[in-house]
Symmetry: C2
Subunit: 326 residues, 2 copies
């Protein structure tokens, strides 16, 4: 019997951010969050479990990886092995077109795909919610890459209560994300470390306390396809998260000079009548949201902004799912 | 009898910021603030009151000025005339070495000098506190340029209760401000307009509510000449103010790409052991605080940072005072 399965998942861009945990080990988030899967980017993971015990192997884009990235995958697979009552080692082959470590949620797509593939390989018949909960153990925001389209992550109090669900399918709203890459350098401080520092900022507790209200308003804006309302909430929450980062101890500065150039350009374009809104994950790149009709124009303009190295464009994407082994 | 007097005042750099009013007309601030006068920069104002009534004249650095700047001076002088029971028009000659409108508190020094000169010209014998209250009517932060050295502005509930006083004389601590000028463009949105928008930010109320605590900690850090503590409080408050600005409706972005370059450099230098801390007023320029011993090195390094146009250096300065007419 071959214990092998392949799955794909998309990264997601958060409209209301996840920053800070109430439980670091279980990755129970301090606040609920809301995101959209990015259909144009994806990770495909194939997991093969062997009978023999031993260290797991991780092969990323064809290259054997050791160190913390492999350790993190092994720790994650230990959860799956425990659920399935299986002890053999795994070989994980993962391929992605997402630049890693630049705040493009590469780990979200990776662990969502891995959760689906690993569970299938060991014959676990898990629901979407259970897969979301499982993916969360690998990377918090990975739980949001399991359901399709526009997704809300219920913060929850316990492991079983912290999962993501779809609030609208990808075809509900042709909302585009045009991503201005201003740096492909791997970030100096990981998101995991950042989450641990969040509570040291005096701006954190209020962001957490008011996040449910912003999630509700954002959910409503998505339901009504109300770009103006979405823009205001999304920009406020992104700035707030970065203000938390910049006032943490020690402080975290993810912005680059070109980040400001893009933010200024986006504000100018909006004043000129172009429907655009910005958000930023834990990195210097700027995600420019717009209706699909404006995406080509936004991409064209972003490519001309000094400091922008390249532009990626994506509409809403589906959830994590099993695909045939290649 | 000649109704003429001349006074000088320094601008000040706030360590805990003034942003938002509880009363826009009286410029009663939402929160207490704390600052240091900058002795190396100054404004000298000569006020001459004439017997005849009519519009006041404003001459800035030798150039006759009309429009909103003159109107603001006339509205301010109306308060002084009312206090003195005098109705004649004034000629105000003001000279300064402070670039205007780039977040260097040019209006603070201008109205502090004007308050002292105008009161003296009309024979009003006002205490330091009364002069501070008067200056506040011209520009909120001008009240902080009246007392010497390190200064706290008591927010107050009423006009008579909102004034600044010295918490330590300039010679108490050789703390230097090395200012990286990244733009000399006049800011697109005035501080007065910014103050009106402050309350539209969801980050404003908590900043206001917690400002007294930061003022107390900052006061204590100054008393103990504790640079480390000062650095942490000052940076947090500055980021918080700019986060309020960036999340106001409509949003206010004062940062330029070179602002980020300087902030990154300051953080790197501190990691390397140089005692430096940043703060920013309502503008893109970065004030780098350091002990006097480090000021030359900091200035030398700042001059080499890309995007920095020039560097100004200042230690603590005295209060606003009358000087002989030139």
């Amino acid at each position: 019997m071959t214990r092998r399965a392949t799955a794909q998942a998309h990264p997601n861009i958060a409209f209301i951010k996840y920053w800070g945990n109430r439980d670091d080990r279980l990755r129970l988030p301090a606040n609920p969050s809301l995101s959209m899967n990015l259909g144009a980017l994806r990770t495909v993971a194939t997991v093969t479990f062997l009978e023999e015990e031993g260290p797991d192997a991780l092969i990323l884009n064809g290259i054997r990886v050791e160190g913390p990235a492999r350790d993190r995958v092994e720790a994650f697979l230990d959860h799956v092995r425990e659920m399935a009552g299986f002890r053999g080692k795994a070989v994980v082959e993962s391929r992605t077109d997402i630049p890693a470590g630049v705040g493009l949620a590469s780990s979200a797509a990776a662990f969502a795909a891995l959760a689906v593939a690993a569970a299938a390989a060991l014959g676990l018949d898990l629901s979407e919610r259970e897969l979301s909960i499982l993916a969360r153990l690998g990377s918090g925001s990975a739980c949001r890459s399991v359901p399709p389209g526009f997704v809300e992550w219920v913060a929850g109090d316990r492991h079983e209560d912290s999962y993501a669900y779809s609030i609208a399918p990808p075809e509900h709203w042709a909302l585009w994300d045009v991503i201005a890459i201003v740096s492909e350098q791997h970030k100096a401080v990981s998101s995991s470390e950042g989450h641990r520092r969040a509570a040291t900022s005096p701006l954190h507790a209020l962001r957490v306390a008011t996040a449910p209200e912003r999630v509700a308003r954002c959910r409503e804006a998505i339901r009504r396809r109300d770009f103006e309302s979405l823009a205001e909430i999304v920009e406020t929450d992104a700035i707030w998260m970065h203000a938390v980062m910049m006032t943490s101890r020690p402080p975290l500065f993810y912005w680059e000079p070109a980040t400001i150039t893009v933010l200024q350009a986006v504000r100018r374009w909006r004043d000129e009548g172009l429907p655009v809104a910005f958000t930023l994950d834990a990195g210097p790149n700027v995600h420019v949201l717009c209706p699909r009709e404006a995406a080509d124009e936004v991409a064209r303009r972003l490519e001309q902004v000094p400091g922008v190295q390249r532009v990626l464009t994506s509409g809403p994407g589906g959830g994590a799912c099993r695909i045939p082994d290649s």
